[in-house]
Symmetry: C2
Subunit: 306 residues, 2 copies
């Protein structure tokens, strides 16, 4: 009998309606993912990995792209109305106040590549502070004396943490306080910032950019806008290890964000929260590592021995 039903079902091309099922099981199997600009080279890879991992454990992604300007919250409330089982916030423009609402609604939230003060959400980030410090160390060891920093969005925890690590590193190693320009994680912003930096009387000799995206642009500005050689005339470092950083034309020295471990951590945190809603929120910081390529002067280079 059971078989007969099964047979008939497949003959008729019957597909159980997962939506209807979710009504009684209270599990939709959907995870809302909010992502800012996919133009940042970091996010496509993150999204791909997240989708793959989530699919592997039976979840699907309800995607939501935050508008670059202004408030993303209303749209995000829509996503909540879809009864997603969890929420991954990888966009900086989403207010963290929303995390509290989710918490109240019993939806686990994990902040990806950002943190916030709220206790309502877990977060996964790379070792932003450490990375900034490592870059400072590299600059110092190569004998640089005029460090600069191109910041991302001043409101983003990622940018602030990287800057803090860099500043502290510079201070600890006897370098001057870095000159700071804001690039806002955007292409145009980065272009303007690097241009401003290179137009100064006392041109910086080493520029740390808060993202590879901006680092690549900074290199282009140095080379094509000012005819400078990288790293002979100016060292450039980035953050993320986005794919183009390793392309031979760039060879951008950078601090890796361990995307895969970050994604794995995010997924397991979601699963953990789902299994036990009373589990405490966690803040995971995953170590990266410095990848030295060719865009920065090295200690062994003759230029560094004055």
């Amino acid at each position: 009998m059971r078989e007969r039903v099964l047979r008939a079902a497949s003959e008729l091309g019957y597909r159980p309606n997962l939506i209807a099922r979710s009504l009684t099981t209270r599990r939709t199997g959907m995870v809302g993912v909010a992502v800012g600009s996919l133009a940042n080279h970091l996010y496509p890879g993150m999204l791909q990995a997240l989708a793959a991992h989530l699919q592997a454990v039976g979840y699907r992604i309800l995607l939501f792209t935050a508008p670059l300007d202004g408030n993303a919250d209303p749209e995000l409330e829509q996503v909540m109305s879809y009864q997603v089982d969890a929420l991954v916030l990888a966009a900086t423009t989403v207010s963290s106040g929303l995390a509290d609402q989710c918490r109240a609604a019993g939806i686990p939230v994990v902040l990806f590549n950002r943190t916030s003060d709220t206790t309502a959400a877990s977060s996964v980030t790379g070792a932003n502070r450490d990375g900034g410090e490592e870059i400072a160390r590299l600059f110092a060891s190569a004998g640089h004396r005029r460090p600069a920093f191109i910041a991302g969005d001043p409101n983003a925890s990622t940018s602030r943490d990287r800057e803090q690590g860099f500043r502290e590193g510079c201070a600890a190693l006897g370098m001057p306080v870095p000159i700071v320009e804001v690039g806002g994680f955007s292409d145009d912003g980065a272009r303007r910032a690097m241009t401003a930096l290179l137009q100064r009387q006392e041109r910086p000799d080493a520029v740390f950019c808060a993202s590879d995206q901006m680092g690549l642009i900074a290199m282009d500005v140095a080379r094509f806008g000012f005819g400078l050689k990288v790293p002979q005339d100016v060292s450039v470092a980035g953050f993320d290890d986005a794919p183009p950083a390793s392309w031979p034309t760039y060879g951008l020295t950078t601090y890796v964000q361990p995307i895969l471990p970050m994604v794995e951590a995010a997924v397991s945190m979601i699963l953990e929260q789902l299994a036990d809603p009373t589990a405490p929120q966690r803040r995971v910081v995953l170590p990266g590592r410095l990848i030295v390529r060719t865009s920065c002067r090295l200690p062994s280079d003759p230029e560094s021995q004055p």
Copy 2:
């Protein structure tokens, strides 16, 4: 009374359950989107635009990333079980047989950046054939005599159409039949293909790559692997106008895929099908245009006057 209810609702933080609503309205407001590798620089932009446009008309994206290897269909059936209102297929690895199933289930399907023989699905593509032809024309006008083509996935209609246009263009303009290597739209594949091309006795003097992604890699191989100058030693052209193509280090000449119009067309086709399920399937081919940058020799260059 009405007001009192409304007030109470908002005080309690009530959110209507869109999932439950969809049960009776038979509209989930979700569109399934299958995308292959986000590593191809074309897709993040496409996804972003699609998400924005779909959100604007009240739809959300249920994302599905196709595994690179093998069969994506089982996972896609899951997506169908979520009762998506429509499906956008931007991945080549999804079988077009699935489109028929959707059709049977009354779900509109639009193929994005690909076609297939099935009559069950609409499609939106760039002018692949024309683009290939334009590149041939450019090569011919610059006096090139040894054209080559780096193909993408041989099963992909996009790659085949571009190749066909290129071949026909070469033939019509009196150039030899192009040498063809398969790059498979992958980084490694492109590297191997370009390497094979440049190792030939009779080295090609102009290489057309089926995607910008591969074109950029081809340029790197030429420059860093073989120490060649682009375009003096070899011209390279791509297809898509992906963001890095316009970066000054590359200046990759390419044929634009009009992403925004393509996305708009896809969305309006979905809306059309939703409004009238009996509406005929359409195949839209959107014109692009040649963007001449610095990676190809030009007719006015001295090298082209032998």
